[in-house]
């Protein structure tokens, strides 16, 4: 199972948002980091086939996804930043409808929904309209939705922004487990939050990849980039991230 991006470029009104993106993603958790406006959401949109790249190629299991997006879409789950839920429907109704759009039968959904709601500790909200839930609970509903079809490719745009610390730990423990059989891509602003759980980090700077490797390599590579002026001991993760992001 793999996703490959080769020389992917994306522009909006002559403004380059993504430039020469080359990535090869296999089973595991990938953290996409970057400052505001670095292109994280656009990159996730391109990988999830929501946005077509202007040039370059995107493939899933060696099949061109730009031409045949359905190949990837059948295995995909995507959680947008704004959660993407229908406010006038209840939690269960949202999970049922979007679950069916993901190709899951209503019977399987009925069996899976209580399980996933219980995991995120929101079983008591199942009959509540989404519009009446707090931001944190809405995010947990959106995460439940992302997992309800047992996806092979899971893309999550800032999935823990509204979660409390306990739910964050629970969530990352879960995606770590899911990544044994799936490709999980998570975007975040906070390196400390994801460093324990991701296998690889991709740092974006002005639409370009400035770093793509394991977390362990972040500090050594930053030191090597900065030259002899700093030592590994004097640099922490945050400073190293800043070096690649700014």
């Amino acid at each position: 199972m793999s996703i490959s991006l080769n020389n992917v470029n994306y522009k909006i009104n002559n403004n380059t948002i993504l430039q020469n993106i080359n990535l090869s993603l296999k089973k595991g958790v990938y953290g996409i980091l970057g400052l505001n406006g670095a292109g994280k959401t656009t990159l996730l949109n391109v990988i999830s086939t929501l946005t077509k790249p202007h040039n370059g190629s995107l493939s899933y299991n060696n099949t061109d996804v730009v031409k045949n997006p359905l190949i990837l879409r059948k295995d995909l789950s995507y959680m947008p930043q704004n959660f993407g839920l229908i406010p006038d429907l209840t939690v269960t109704q949202n999970l049922m409808y979007f679950g069916m759009l993901k190709g899951v039968s209503s019977k399987t959904l009925k069996e899976n929904i209580p399980n996933v709601l219980e995991f995120f500790n929101i079983q008591h909200t199942k009959d509540t309209n989404v519009k009446n839930l707090s931001g944190g609970t809405q995010q947990r509903v959106a995460l439940s939705l992302a997992l309800v079809n047992d996806p092979k490719v899971l893309i999550l745009d800032e999935p823990t922004s509204a979660l409390d610390p306990i739910e964050r730990i629970n969530f990352y423990e879960l995606i770590k487990k899911i990544s044994d059989n799936s490709i999980v891509i998570v975007s975040s602003h906070n390196i400390y939050e994801i460093e324990k759980y991701v296998d690889n980090i991709i740092v974006l700077r002005n639409g370009q990849i400035s770093f793509s490797d394991t977390v362990d390599q972040l500090i050594p590579e930053a030191v090597s980039g900065l030259g002899n002026s700093v030592s590994e001991n004097s640099l922490n993760l945050e400073k190293a991230f800043e070096y690649f992001a700014k």
Partner: protein
């Protein structure tokens, strides 16, 4: 009230920046071309009996503001729809709620900005009509009827529309109130006393014409009608400026009364609050203890499974209460006769209006289109599945289908198909549903009243 102009101007700017503005402008320009027909045209837009005004300066300057009032009655409802909801969605309503200003002041800011917006649009329409039907560019001749008929009415209209939008959350009730408002201003008896829109004054100008019926007027196209043209020599002499200026203080009083009912500090009802059942201790102990074992899902992306998903969304797009009301009305339609039957069917259609908001346009208004776009189903399959809504329409008209004539039954279904395609196309291209709902209300009202759409005023 010092800050009123500034806040109102900001709100006004938002109106102009809204996506609707360009569509409204297009609609206004199109109307500008057709409101006052050329004598060679095969249609008229205002008659009393079989008489209408001849094309001269007096007629154009008198008719235009009265027509603007009629058009803007609907346009204002469209523009003011969901002002509050939009603020809630943009998370700017919190500023409104926490403001130190009084309810009256806050509502007046909205009223004034909507009034300015409507007045500017109305003036654009006035100018378009003036240019298209060139008689004289003496603006003063057009300005007096505009100031007399249109400006006070637009202030009154803005007040009513803002109040309804901010005070009433229940959509169904909102539509009923709009309907009652339109009936109120155009009702024959009320018109004779108050003449809010100026139609009665315009009709009174036909007093020297011996028409069989002086109490009916028409907006729209009439083919093959033998119309006699009356040449008007004098501008409408305002009965009294007070007869229109009174709308300003009346509007202020209405907003003041409404401000007492306006509860901006509490939007979540107690019954809607989610019970807090989780405890801190439970949360802490639950870390790493909870496990999720998904059931291996068998993915199927065929048309039948998509139909099931769409049917699920369709059936949950209107509340249980509305579904029950629609069902009861629908059953009654089988036993009703004549006008009652027509009324009942129109009522069933109106109860089904939320389908537009939640089923057809929901993916755009709720930002959930991504789910459809990255779903494993093709776009064509989604279009096919939307035909479910058309099937609902067909089922609704079953009580009125003429089973003795296949042709008539097919004709009714064909008209519904057209209506459905219009809805689908509008929602897909404009990515909203408001105009569709207003058009559907007009069509259903027309159906209910038995008056063709072009004569509903």
């Amino acid at each position: 009230m010092k800050a009123l102009p500034l806040i109102s101007l900001y709100n006004l700017k938002l109106f102009f920046k809204h996506t609707y503005f360009k569509y409204i402008l297009v609609i206004i320009m199109i109307l500008g071309f057709f409101i006052i027909p050329n004598p060679k045209s095969d249609y008229v837009t205002f008659t009393v009996g079989s008489y209408t005004g001849g094309l001269n300066l007096v007629w154009i300057s008198n008719l235009t503001p009265v027509y603007i009032n009629a058009i803007f009655s609907l346009l204002a409802i469209f523009i003011s729809q969901n002002l509050k909801k939009r603020e809630l969605n943009n998370n700017t309503y919190v500023n409104f709620r926490l403001s130190i200003k009084s309810n009256f002041q806050l509502l007046m800011y909205k009223v004034v900005s909507l009034f300015f917006y409507l007045t500017i649009l109305a003036f654009i329409l006035e100018i378009i009509i003036l240019v298209i039907n060139y008689q004289s560019y003496n603006l003063a001749l057009y300005l007096v009827p505009f100031l007399y008929f249109t400006v006070p009415y637009l202030f009154f209209l803005a007040s009513v529309c803002v109040l309804i939008d901010y005070l009433v959350d229940l959509k169904f009730l909102k539509y009923i109130l709009y309907f009652v408002f339109i009936i109120f201003i155009y009702n024959t008896n009320i018109r004779h006393i108050l003449d809010i829109t100026g139609i009665q004054e315009l009709m009174d100008n036909f007093s020297h014409v011996e028409a069989k019926s002086k109490d009916s007027f028409i907006l729209g196209k009439i083919k093959y009608k033998d119309v006699q043209y009356v040449k008007f020599e004098n501008f409408i002499d305002p009965k009294s400026w007070l007869s229109k200026i009174y709308l300003f203080p009346i509007s202020l009083i209405i907003v003041l009364l409404g401000s007492f009912l306006f509860k901006r500090y509490s939007v979540v009802r107690k019954t809607e609050q989610v019970p807090v059942t989780t405890k801190k201790q439970e949360n802490i102990s639950s870390v790493k203890e909870r496990t999720y074992h998904p059931i291996a899902s068998v993915s199927s992306f065929n048309l039948i499974s998509l139909f099931k998903a769409e049917f699920f969304l369709l059936s949950n797009s209107i509340s249980k209460n509305l579904k029950l009301i629609a069902l009861v009305l629908w059953i009654l339609a089988f036993f009703a006769h004549g006008e009652i039957k027509t009324l009942v069917i129109a009522a069933v259609f109106i109860t089904l209006l939320p389908l537009n908001q939640n089923y057809l346009a929901g993916k755009y208004t709720n930002n959930t289109f991504y789910a459809e776009k990255i779903s494993g189903y093709s776009a064509l399959m989604f279009i096919l599945s939307k035909f479910l809504l058309f099937l609902v329409y067909v089922v609704v008209v079953i009580p009125v289908l003429d089973y003795t004539s296949l042709e008539i039954s097919l004709f009714i279904i064909f008209k519904l198909l057209f209506l459905f395609l219009f809805q689908l196309a509008y929602v897909t291209f404009v990515k909203d549903y408001l105009l569709v709902e207003i058009i559907l209300i007009i069509i259903f009202s027309s159906y209910f009243s038995g008056v063709p759409v072009y004569q509903i005023f």
